[in-house]
Structure formats: structure tokens, C-alpha cells
Symmetry: C3
Subunit: 472 residues, 3 copies
């Protein structure tokens, strides 16, 4: 850039350094997938690239336009060397200590597992070649994303290193390649960076454990209440019901509890803020962790709800159900019964299904709006409208659906087999509590206090004035 | 880059300004969520950050590496000051008028509601501190997106301000943080920028109103034709049918009408272009607005279609349906009827369902290809193939599905209760018209004219030559 | 930035050329959609824009702030000219040969079809105006994406041209507009760039052909086995079963085969690597092509599975099914049969459905994680966990589902009508083979060898040492 350079240069080259007669030369060690993709990308962006290889004359297909040399020659020709080699093979670098002195050595390596080595690859490299300026970078990218150009999430590049100048050089290259760079500090952060690509859903662990725990609990609870009870009391084997009937009780129960657990922490946080009279005190750790996994809780709940829907829809084609319906028709005829159509029953059953469908429809909407590309396209207010207002509406529909399922069974003792309440009653506790607390928060007087606190107001305390917190 | 500079500088620092020995210092007023996130992000990108605080020694947790000073000292130390404070508290700035003179003051504030104040926050700020160069920027970002680095849609930053130099400084910082910047002009655009985060689905309003209106109309229409008619004429209460049967008539009707309304404006526009003989005249406003909300119309239609599918699939587990089926079997036996299998009926019902399923499958495909990340990955031709060709196929399947539902009822007078046509007949009008018009457009002679017009050709008119419009 | 420069310049203008007193002037020829959108975007980013028009005084609405001049004057005033005109109208440029000499001429044009002209538009342009530096660029963007700012996939801009300096100028402008630029070399690449927007799912062709072929084959196979066989042997017309029953046999068969074809190439590749003892030999071409379309195979398989689910769920509301059920109930009563509940049957049918639902649920999960925005948000390990581990689990569930469907029919000769096996037996071949081979690969000894090979180890061969390949 810098227009001032214009007069000094040829008419078509007013662009200072970028259009410099000779483009910068970069060196890559290693001709594996990653090395080749990186080289190709660098060439496409206008760099010159030289590969360092032990066998420069037989090292397989390389991107068009790249040179190949011995490691020594390649290292000497460039100021920046990308090391695309597995850690296990770093030792060959020891023979290049003099050539690498003062050079920027970019370590892109990853390990296959966490905690295999006592120190990070990049730290080990720095110890091996103390004279080089080691920068850890690009390790979170795949050869694939390098070849195809950066896209949304894979646009982010992390780097760390001890030399600010060396890092700056790598930042410039990465920026030219179209990446956004985040500097994570000194080389001591290399371990953290090397662990990134090995992450396996860290933010899903708590919700998954919870889902698994709830599923296991309710499965055994209902197994005992339904199958074992029938076997013991009536000496009938209905174990075949495990596959569909029992599963179709467990799934909606877990789904409703997890959906309400999405909204509970928000309500708890509101009451905490009201109690403390300020938003400037940090929440306890457990609440913070809980709030951070609400999205995952909700998506798992949606998964269980979807299974519940599918399990419900196949009911009429089950052998057991067809058999039962045929039996009941036959027995009616044989006993010459005349059954009367029960309008209340029709209202109740239809409302029950309608609530379920509308709740599930909204649920799907919440899920779709959680897709990264959709939520990115929403303004903050739109996102919070969907996740909060529509979210509570979903919770209401689903809870009401469950109440309609229970209907008048809440008061009939025959449903409390072995003095235990049915599953759907247990699962109504949390959502009912959440909705009651939310109603309290929606009361105008409570709502007003909360809004004031969230805008920064603090309940006056002896040592300060109410205004300070807004400004500091 | 810029190899020429290399000789003059230290070996590892060939990078002009960016690798300058001391990194730029930026100042942030306000230590709330946004202030802290912004500071952290700036530090990660390599800036030095100083916070201005009324209580520099007790202002809560700040990002590592940031300094804290009094407002006065902080303002003096930096050239750019980010003001992360609610508008209600701008008045403390009046005491800093001298320190802020000539500085760039970045207003990131938003309001909770539209039109609360007579002037935009940034304009108010400029009036308060006339000596500073106020720039409105970053207000569309959340603290969250700042902390996590920019992603797709949240990568866009809008700014406005009266000083081009001040804006340029903010542009540079935003670009370094990884954002794309759009300059919206002078500070008079601040109001518009401050309204962005308060938007609540502006482009969904028209389609939502239409959907609501159609739903209400058809609900009452069918309520009268079905429930009220039966009550008046046959004195039977079938009000329980509202929850599922009636809803399952309203949803597909609204869905089909809205789907065809997606495609109607395109057809109308084509005829308008044919009539005018040019594509260079603007469409009337209503048509423009209509064409801009086609995506929303289609997605709402898909929502209604999904509800229709779920409502249809629960039919066999409804109490009413089971009761009716049992009744019919029992009556058959009692009256010793022998019903004959009707092959035509089987063909018709199965075709009806198959059309519905295939239509819904294509519908889903259209919906999925509307997801931002999917449509972004499609070439223009691919997108138009899906939305246009497959879209019309979807419309055809769904319309045919409805015709099969009607079958021979169109001609039987008994279906015209109280001289009103059934709902599905009403809903067939718009799609039938759209498909007829589309067929006309597909006629080779019409298609040829239209293609020529869309490539820029104009029907010769007295005052010009046919070519001009192509070049201007 | 670069604080050092500050003292020398005006206090607020330390930014080289970008804040230079006068912003760069760019010229646009053509005032169509694309020309106008480009101009608006350039103006928003801070450029000055002049339009060249044959009728500067009557060329329709232009973005605010842009000037309009005659082509001659506009071309002379700027160094870079964007040509937003259809190729058919390039000839007017011939009159501007002198004004365009030495200018950068950016060709953004596309054609409506491939291979209409013998040479690419940009090459033709270069031949027309040999004195200009033609750069092909921006043609993959739509006017729409220009107006709305770049988003994920549409952020990529390709360019090519013979003059490195000219290209560099366009790169700078594109970068300032927020795009990532990929240089595709000299102008001979223009044809390729012009074909990009005309692509119609090139990577979907092979999978679509396969899906179509399988569907056609199994449709006729089952048509003969079911409908024709019944007609010939029992003289009964059950052709109505084509619409739903037959389709609902074809869809799951094709889906399962295509799902297993997703996983077959991975298994084949593993055995090939084991056999060759190295990962450094290229796979045969057919295997490469196969592996590149696995995602498309999987998504098509998911589409067929979804149709299978919908077709299955409407079973109980089909006329044919209701008729059959009523008939069977009536005949039971008439013949006074007492049917006994078969617990094994209940277990089998319920397990069959449960496997199907769980398989389909996982299937959906695989599909969702293939959405670009979701897969971008996953780390490499997470993505491979879902697509590989969960993928094989899906395949297992779906195969098991099909085996349960077959149950004991595999051994009954009556099911082999006309000596042909039923469709579901045929479709079990490929998945069973894939799963058997995968089990072999999972054996500890095989797995260990494979992991070593994939880390770069090579089976020792006479002329080399086992280590070389790791470094080169």
C-alpha cells in the first residue's frame, strides 16, 4: 500500500511491497499431505516455495511451481521454514543447527493422542534447535481446509511463540492466505494448541453424562414398575414391551427434564441477581458451567423428543397393538357390548396430540436456529426472542402435553404401583418448578427490578454510590 | 513482505509498521462484559490496552495484560478510546472534554428499545464532546462474538462518523481483529446502525401476517362449514374435531397457498417484462417487496406442511379414529355385509399419499438448501436449479396431491354445504393459476422472447436503438 | 498504526495511503445489476467510483456518490476499469483502444451456457484490446452477494491474468472489499473460471446416476417378482401396490446399499495400504473418485431412508391396509378362531422397529453434521468420530433392521418366487461384506499395522530404509 511509493516505481506497480518484483520465498520441510497442501496454497497466493527433502530427486508429486532441494540448501534459501514432519522425526534437524540459526521455524505438528510426550512438540523443537525462532501455528487446520481455502470456522489460526518478530512474520503469511490469526502468547501455550485438534466434544460431556444417567435411572425405574411388577403380581411376561413401549416412556421423560434443565439456570441466575442486588458479582462456578452447556442440553433433549415422535408414530403398525385392537373388537362383538362415544375423551386425546405436535414443531425451530449458520444470521434480539420466548412456549406446550397425558390419573391410587409414582409424574416436577419461577420473574415489580440490575444498577450499599458500577 | 526494506532493518523485522517495536495502545472506557471482551480480543491481536475506570483499584476482573488507570490518565495515553458505557452515563465524559480533544471516540453503545431518545447515542456523544472525533462502530457485535472471534455473519462491522481519518483508524483496528468493515457514511447514519441489533425479523413480518390472516380465515370458514353446519343441520356436537381434524385441514390449505404465492411474483414479473419489452424498467413497489419475501413465504409454507405431516401421521392413534374403525367393523359383522375391495380406490389413495410424500420430500430439500451455509456452497446455477426447477416440481406434486384428495367430489353438490365450496377447492385456485401461467412461459416462443429480454434486449422504441441499454 | 510515522503527518492521519487525502478512483463500465452492486460496494468501502456510459445523462439509478461520464472520459480518469457488460457487447471497446492502453481491465462476465464460444470471454477481450492488462475476476460472485457483503462460501474470489502487477491491484481491491483471493495463474485459466458459475452439481453426478440405476433395477426386479408373479401365477391384479408398497421396498433397499457403498471404499483403501505396505502410493483413479463422492452417496442414502420412513408411517391410514385389517378381524369372528399372542413375534417386530428408528436417528445425525456450518465447527477428531464411528454404528443398526425383517424367511423356499431371492436379501450382500471386512481391520494385529502405515511407516524394501518416507 502506501501511495507515496508510486512516483518511484513503474506505472502499474503502486503497491509497495506486495507487488515487489520478486515474491517472498518460503521453505517447507516434509512432502506429506499437509506439506503439499500448504505449498500449493502458498503458491496460489503468490509466494515462491522451496521444499526441503532428503531425496530431492524422488520425493513424489509436488505442487506445480515449487522447487525441491536438499534440507540444507532449502533452509539456507528462506527466512521462514514450515516444518510439516511428525515429531518422531525431528531429530534429523539436529544436523541443520547452523543453517536454522536465526530462522523462523513454524511447527505445524499434532500428535495422535494427548499427553504422550512430557513437553509440547514445539517446545521440544525449540530445545532441539535453540538458535531458531520456533512458532507454533496452523496445527488446527487440515490439509483439506488448506487446499480448499479457508471457510467459516476453519478460518481461525492460532499461534504462539517466544519471538514477537517471528510471530509477526507468520501472522502476515497467514493473513495473506486468508486466515484470521489469534496470538495465544509464548511457546508455553503450544501444549494447549496441540490439544485443540484432539478435542472430542468437551462441551458435550456434562450434558451427555446427564442424559445417560437420566435414561438409565428411568429405564430401570420403569422396568421395575411395569415389567417386574406385572411379572410378580400378575405372573405375566410382558418383557417384549421393553423395545418400544418402555423406550417410548423413557425418551419423552428424559427429553422434558433436559429441556427444563435448559431454562432452570437462567431462572436461578435471575433470582441470584435479585438477591444480591447486582449483576457484577460472578456466579458460582457450577452455575457458570451449567449455563455454558444449555445449548447442548437443549439439542440432546431435541434428539430424545425426535425419538419419542418416531416411536409414537410406529405404534399403529406394531404387532402387539394390532393384536390388541383386533382382540378388543372381537370381544366387543362376542359380548355384544355397545360402546358410547366419549366426547371428553376425544377432546382430551386430540388436545394431547395437538400440544405434542405444536411443542415438537417449536422444538425443531429452536434446533434449526441453533445451527451455526442460522444463528449467525440472526440479530441478537432475534436470537434471544427465539431461544427465550419461543423456548418457554415450547416448554409450556411440552409440559401441558404431559399433564394431558396424566389427566385424572394423578389422583387414582391404582396408578401408584408399589407406592411409586408413574414416570410422567416424576418428570413433571422440574418443568413445573421452572415455569412457576419464571412466572414470578414475569411479575411487573420483579421484572422491573431485574431489568434495572441488568442495565447495571446496584442496590445501594454503605460504601459506594449506586452509579459507580456503571462506569468502571 | 516488502523485501526491499529488509536490508535496512534488523534481520527478523522486515515488516514495516506492523512489527514496530512498540504496539499501538488503545483505551477502553467501561469494564462491563463488552469492554472486557473487546479488551481481551485487542490484547490477543497484539494491541496494548488500557482501561479507564473511576475506581482503577477495584473494578473487577480484567483481561490479563491490560492496564487500568483513571479516566483522565487513560484518555491522555491513547489516541483511540472505545466507549463501552451505557448512554445514560455519558455525562461523566463532560469532565474529560480537554483530555478527549482531537481523540477518536468509538461509540459502541446500543439502546434497549427503538426511539427512546430523540437523537442517536453517537450524535448525542458528538454534541457532548464536540472536540472529539466520534465514530459509531462495533455496536452490532455481541461480547460473545468478540470473545470467540468473528464467524460468518458476525464478521461484518458497520461504522459511521464525520471524520474520514478517524474512521480509517477504526477500520484498521477492526480489520486486524478479523472483521469486514462497511462504512455507512456520516454520523447521521448512527441511528440506523443503532437500530440494527434491535431488529426483530423485519423481513418476516409480511409473510407472518399473511400466514396468520390465511390461517384465521380458513379456520373460521371450516369451523362454520364443518362444526357449525353439523350442529345446526344435524344437531350433533363434533366440536372435538377442532383440535386435530380441523387444524389438519387448515394447515395444508395455508401451506399450499403460501407455496404458490412464492412462485406467483416470479411469473407476474415475467409477464410484466414481456409486456414492457424490457428488463430495465423497475417493477412496481409491491412486486419488489413481494419478491424479496419469497424465501420467508416458502419457509413458513414448509412449517405448515410439516405440521400437516405430523397431524396426518397421528391419525391412526386418535381415540376418535380407533372408535370409528371398530364401529364400522362391528356394524359390518352385525349387518353381515361383504365389502368388495375397490382397486380404483386403492390406486387413488396410494397415489394421493405418494404424491404428498414426494412433494414433502422435495419441500424439505428446498428448505435445507435455504440454510445460509448450504446456499452459500451452491453455485448460482445450482441454487436457481433447486429453487426454480425443483420448486415448481414441488408445487406440482402438492397441487396434484390436493386434486387427488378432491377426486370426484368437485362435481357432487352434497359437498357444497350451505352453497360454499370445501376448503381444498378454494386453496387450489392460486396454485392452478400459477402453474397455468408458468406453462405459458415455458412455451418455446414465449421463452425465447423472455430470455432475450433478460439478456438485455429491448423491444425497439421510436427514440432509441435496441443496443443502448446493454452498454449503459 | 505505526506510531512512529505519527509525528511527520497530521495528527489524525498516520496511515499511509489508506487515509490518503484522496481515495482511489475506480471505473465501472456497465450499469446493470452487477455494475451497480459493485459500485455501491466500492463506495461503501471508501473508493471513489466513476461509471462509463454511452448515455451519461440517462442511464438509470446509480449508487449515491458515483459519477457518470462518457466511456472515454471514465476510462481516462482511472487506472482500473471493471467491465460489467455481456460479452456480446464487447465490440464497443474497440473505439477505446487508446484510452485503455496500459489500464487494468477487469472482466467479470459469465456466459449463459458452457462452450458457446471458442475462447474464454477474458481471452477474447485481451485479443480485442491487446494494450490493456486483462484480469478475469469476480465472475463467481452474484450482484446479490456483492450488495450484502461477502458471506462464507461467497467470500472466495478467483482471478487470473497475464500481468502480475495488474492482478496485484485487483487483489488489493478485492481484499479491501472483504474477499479472499485465489490466483489461478495466467489468462488461460479464464475458461475454467467462467465455467465455475455454470456448474450443476458435478460431484453429485456419479452418486445420482448410481441411485437412479439401483432404483430402476430394483423397481423392475420387484415389479416382476411381486406384481407380475401374482398376476401370472394367481391371476390377481395387485398393480395398485406399485405406488406405496413397492416404492417402500425399493427405497430402503437402495438406501442401505448406498450407505454401505459410502463405507466400502474406506475399507478397500485400508486393505490396499496393508497389501502395499505404504501410504505413499497413490490409489487407483476409480478409488479416488469413489472416495470423493462418499458424502454425496451418504446424503442420497439419507434421502431414500427418509422417504422409507414416511412411506412406512402412512401404512396404517392406507385404504388397502384398513380393508385388510377389517377383513381379518371379520373372518376371525366368522370362523370363531382364537388367535394366541405370540411373544417372540412381538419381540421381533418391536426390535425390528426399534433398530430402524435408532438407525434412522443416527443417520439424521450424520446428515446434520454434514451441513457445512456444522462440520466447520467440529474439530477434525470430532468430525471423524461422527462420520466413522457413528457411521459404522448406523450401518450396523440398518443392516440388523433388515436382518430382523427377513428373520426366518431366508430358509423358506416359498419366498424364492421364480427362483429369485427377495429384494431385501440382495441388499444385504454389500453391507454384510463391508461389516465383515471392517471387523477384520479392527483386529488388534491388523489395526496396529495399519496405524503404523498411516503414520508414514513403510514395509522395508531393498533399496531404502524404513525411515526415509517420513522425512521427504
Amino acid at each position: 500500500m502506501s501511495k507515496e511509493v508510486k512516483p518511484e516505481s513503474v506505472s502499474l506497480c503502486p503497491l509497495g511491497m506486495t507487488a515487489a518484483p520478486e515474491q517472498e520465498l518460503l521453505c517447507i520441510f516434509g512432502t506429506g499431505d499437509f506439506g503439499r497442501s500448504l505449498g500449493q496454497r502458498l503458491l496460489q497466493t503468490g509466494y515462491r516455495v522451496v521444499y526441503g527433502s532428503r531425496r530431492p530427486h524422488s520425493c513424489g508429486p509436488l505442487p506445480q511451481g515449487a522447487q525441491v532441494m536438499s534440507h540444507e540448501a532449502a533452509a539456507q534459501s528462506a527466512g521462514v521454514i514450515f516444518l510439516c514432519v511428525h515429531r518422531e522425526n525431528y531429530d534429523f534437524l539436529e544436523t541443520l543447527v547452523t543453517q536454522l540459526k536465526g530462522k523462523v521455524l513454524v511447527d505445524v505438528s499434532n500428535n495422535l493422542k494427548k499427553n504422550v510426550y512430557p513437553e509440547a512438540n514445539a517446545e521440544y523443537l525449540q530445545r532441539l534447535i535453540p538458535g531458531a525462532h520456533v512458532v507454533k501455528a496452523f496445527n488446527t487446520l487440515s490439509a483439506w481446509s488448506l487446499q480448499n481455502g479457508p471457510s467459516d470456522a476453519s478460518r481461525q489460526v492460532y499461534l504462539c511463540g517466544n519471538s514477537a518478530e517471528a510471530k509477526q512474520q507468520v501472522v502476515e503469511t497467514a493473513t495473506k492466505l486468508g486466515f484470521n490469526v489469534l496470538d495465544r502468547g509464548t511457546l508455553s501455550a503450544a501444549r494447549e494448541l496441540e490439544d485443540f485438534p484432539l478435542q472430542l466434544f468437551p462441551e458435550w460431556r456434562l450434558p451427555l453424562r446427564l442424559a445417560f444417567g437420566l435414561t438409565a435411572f428411568f429405564f430401570f425405574y420403569l422396568l421395575i414398575r411395569d415389567v417386574v411388577y406385572t411379572y410378580v403380581e400378575q405372573d405375566k411376561d410382558i418383557s417384549f414391551r421393553i423395545m418400544v413401549s418402555l423406550a417410548n416412556k423413557v425418551f419423552p421423560i428424559v427429553s422434558l427434564i433436559m429441556l427444563s434443565l435448559c431454562y432452570l439456570p437462567g431462572v436461578v441466575a435471575a433470582f441470584l441477581q435479585l438477591y444480591r442486588g447486582t449483576k457484577y458479582k460472578r456466579f458460582p462456578d457450577w452455575l457458570d458451567r451449567w449455563m455454558l452447556c444449555r445449548k447442548q442440553l437443549g439439542l440432546l433433549a431435541l434428539g430424545f423428543a425426535s425419538l419419542h415422535v418416531l416411536y409414537t408414530l410406529i405404534i399403529p403398525i406394531r404387532y402387539y397393538v394390532r393384536f390388541r385392537i383386533a382382540e378388543s373388537t372381537i370381544s366387543k362383538i362376542k359380548e355384544n357390548q355397545t360402546s358410547v362415544f366419549d366426547t371428553t375423551m376425544a377432546w382430551r386425546v386430540d388436545s394431547y396430540y395437538a400440544m405434542g405436535i405444536l411443542g415438537f414443531g417449536l422444538y425443531l425451530l429452536l434446533g434449526i436456529s441453533s445451527l451455526p449458520s442460522v444463528s449467525n444470521a440472526l440479530s441478537w434480539r432475534e436470537f434471544s426472542f427465539i431461544q427465550s420466548k419461543l423456548g418457554y412456549l415450547t416448554l409450556f406446550f411440552c409440559t401441558f402435553h404431559t399433564y394431558l397425558y396424566g389427566w385424572d390419573k394423578f389422583l387414582r391410587p391404582s396408578y401408584y404401583k408399589w407406592y411409586t409414582p408413574p414416570g410422567y409424574m416424576l418428570c413433571l416436577v422440574v418443568p413445573s418448578v421452572v415455569m412457576a419461577l419464571k412466572l414470578v420473574i414475569l411479575l411487573p415489580c420483579v421484572d422491573r427490578s431485574l431489568t434495572r440490575i441488568r442495565r447495571g444498577w446496584e442496590r445501594t450499599d454503605p460504601e459506594g454510590d449506586s452509579k459507580k458500577s456503571l462506569l468502571t
